[in-house]
Symmetry: C2
Subunit: 463 residues, 2 copies
């Protein structure tokens, strides 16, 4: 017997849900099964206008969709601040979860969602459509080719659009109670994703928001920029904004090659997309032209990228439902890394453009570590120099490596519970530090030679 298509239930009647309804219809392994809105009338209208079959269920609440035992997947395009509540509930009701971006207000909330999905054994994926376009795979082939592209050196990404006055005053995406991330969540999400994609999802070591973000009166970001740094010298910058003409650039430069595209989030055309690549570019004699020149590549697709996303998600859900497969961990991992960098950018802005460093260590479970933390100021740590065996002061980055030392580090900071930076005495930890508002005190340390040292509690803070 042929497998039945995966049944989608949609929570809410957001604009983007219209596009996804079409995608669910276009995808061969999915079907529009239910829609729920706080208004039954609105849900009925949405179903009628968006190609739901006659048999589709129309509900006057979100709960009713979650309670329908035949719904396989919940597509959740509600405002970000509502994600944690409804996503966790959906997962608890054993619904596979297709979650709109930005996925959560912060990694902490996302972790609640991911933990609920893991407990229920359901698939999680965010709705970042361009990841599923065949162009993305073709570009990745280029970036992965050590001969044609070489080693990644820099990425620049830009996603802006010119919102009208009504949007800037009233849209969900500029309301602190609904989408507190503003342009950073709505367009910056894609920039961050593109940078992580280009860097094989290796998290940056340092995130620094650039100066002069623009806020609305309620403090929501209307435009901002940030820079990202990796330990191997890779750098990336991005700019996101509601205040400038629609622009969607990604530029990736490696030692041997360059990739350009100008429509990375939504291709100019639905069934055909292009990108430009250059390899070992050089000049003609007398440097009056380029040789070789960049070349344009075109990728066609029968299904639009959002339908490819639905098809892939439905395939994964089908494997779980019919074959007993486990959920694909790749998708929640990518969402979480994107959210981590987003959180770091936001923290850097909130901290007055301080760098936010990632703690790097050997942790039990890498995916659940919360690696972005603003730790103490270099100046303060330097005071501990005498007590730490192996101490390196790199330019602008303090790295303290302490093998075979036990530190009883009491961490106290705005927003962080005591001791949140764990110290595992059986292994080693490196952490890098710059800037910040954290207060900390060093209580005891056991040196390599086994001597125990105690210190008076010492407060350090940066203004």
């Amino acid at each position: 017997m042929a497998r039945q298509p995966i049944k989608f239930g949609i929570l809410g009647c957001a604009d983007i849900a219209r596009k996804f309804s079409r995608a669910i219809t276009l995808s061969p392994n999915s079907t529009l099964y239910a829609v729920g809105s706080r208004s039954l009338e609105k849900a009925a209208k949405f179903a009628k206008e968006n190609g739901f079959p006659e048999s589709a269920k129309v509900y006057g609440s979100y709960e009713a969709v979650l309670d329908d035992p035949d719904v396989d997947v919940v597509y959740l395009p509600l405002p970000t601040s509502l994600h944690v509540k409804w996503a966790v509930l959906a997962a608890q009701k054993k619904k596979h979860l297709l979650l709109e971006k930005p996925v959560a207000l912060n990694v902490k909330e996302l972790d609640l969602i991911l933990e609920a999905c893991e407990s229920s054994g359901v698939q999680f994926m965010d709705a970042t459509m361009w990841m599923h376009h065949p162009r993305t795979a073709a570009m990745k082939d280029f970036l992965s080719n050590s001969e044609l592209f070489g080693e990644l050196k820099s990425v620049n990404s830009c996603f802006t659009f010119a919102a009208n006055q009504d949007f800037l005053e009233n849209d969900i995406r500029v309301r602190p109670d609904l989408d507190a991330h503003g342009a950073l969540g709505d367009t910056g999400w894609y920039c961050i994703r593109s940078i992580l994609w280009a860097s094989n999802f290796e998290l940056p070591k340092t995130v620094l928001a650039l100066r002069s973000p623009v806020f609305n009166k309620a403090g929501v970001i209307l435009a901002c920029s940030a820079s990202l740094y990796w330990e191997d010298g890779k750098v990336a910058t991005f700019h996101c904004s509601f205040l400038a003409n629609l622009t969607m650039d990604v530029t990736v430069v490696g030692t041997n090659g360059t990739l350009h595209l100008h429509d990375f989030v939504i291709p100019f055309e639905e069934n055909k997309a292009s990108f430009s690549v250059a390899t070992k570019s050089g000049f003609t004699e007398l440097v009056t032209g380029w040789e070789p020149k960049p070349s344009e590549h075109h990728v066609t697709t029968d299904l639009p990228q959002e339908a490819l996303l639905v098809r892939e998600f439905s395939r994964l859900v089908g494997s779980i439902k019919f074959d007993g497969s486990k959920p694909e961990i790749k998708w929640p991992t990518l969402s979480r890394k994107t959210q981590q960098v987003l959180d770091a950018v936001k923290l850097s802005i909130e901290r007055g453009f301080e760098t936010v460093e990632r703690l790097i260590g050997r942790y039990k479970n890498d995916i659940l570590v919360k690696p972005y933390r603003l730790v103490a100021k270099v100046k303060c740590l330097i005071k501990f120099r005498n007590f730490i065996d192996n101490f390196e002061l790199l330019q602008h980055t303090l790295t303290i490596v302490f093998p075979h030392i036990t530190l009883d580090l009491e961490v106290q900071s705005t927003g962080l519970p005591k001791g949140e930076i764990g110290w595992n005495p059986s292994t080693w930890t490196t952490f890098a530090t710059m800037g910040g508002f954290m207060h900390f005190s060093l209580k005891t340390a056991i040196t390599r030679r086994g001597r125990k040292r105690s210190f008076r509690s010492r407060r350090a803070s940066h203004n």
Copy 2:
């Protein structure tokens, strides 16, 4: 009688001089007249290989070129550290000066050159070729169109090329004694120029180098990035490098339009160049494509951009020589602004990625003001709060406005002579402050009410 072509003398036999020799030949109003090298043999070989006429003078020293009374113009492609000596000498000998970029090691040196040119009444121009391509004017038309482009919001510029190992170890451009700016001077110069060009040469208020520049062993920059900020909210970033595939991007985004080009310094082809523009870009119904899409524009040119530069320079020189015109001030002004920003980026790197603010005030002679200064740390100035009548603390920028107050401000800093920040008691001054290593002390102040206050000398420093 037809005017004679302008006679060019070339100092040195640099590679770039080969390209310029051809340009001087191609330009209808100029002629290759002399070349000087420390080796007469090298000069003769250069003249022979680069289309110098039989009658051309070949000299075994730079001085001899300057001493030849028939030389109208000196083209000076020597290493940057030699510019000030030879450029000043050339100007003193009444030679019009076409100076390779980066024009000087810093604005102070450039000012010596510009002052010599001004005294001698000779024309100054730097050899930034792309400024003279007709594409540049066509793009400027687009950027100047308030309907098509609107208000400038952001610029991103990137110029990288992959130097080989020999270059990275031995080239003039990585030697601290010859071209101390490295990639910042060689490729960053163009990025800075493109950003200033896009912003109508309005100097940014703040310059901040991004973290993780790459240096060679001698401390010369091989790759770096920076961000620039204007008071009206415009932002720009650039990346320059010797370590990544040849890439030459400029992206300019305004409220209504977007400009892209990928070969801004040297067009892909000599006689035809393109750029892409988009205006009021939006999406199709359901956001599955763009409407309108960006469009490609092509500009042809009979002469390559370097010949157009020579033609324009020769035209200006001809006007001075034959018509008694005054030198065109536009070109030294653009060079100086580019150098100012370059200096600020370098200072920001040297200061550990502190922001460098431009002092804004009403000065007697704007072009000779040295506006980039790292002044005292916010925290310190806050101590003076009580004594300053009008005090505003903006986010990350401290602006102190003191109308009708006389401050006797003694300024002492690394590299700055005492009192270099002048205070004009008859008018007002605003200065913005962030970060830095400057020491200063406030000695006396007369408040608006006429009371004189004295302060104990107070030192303030950062770190």
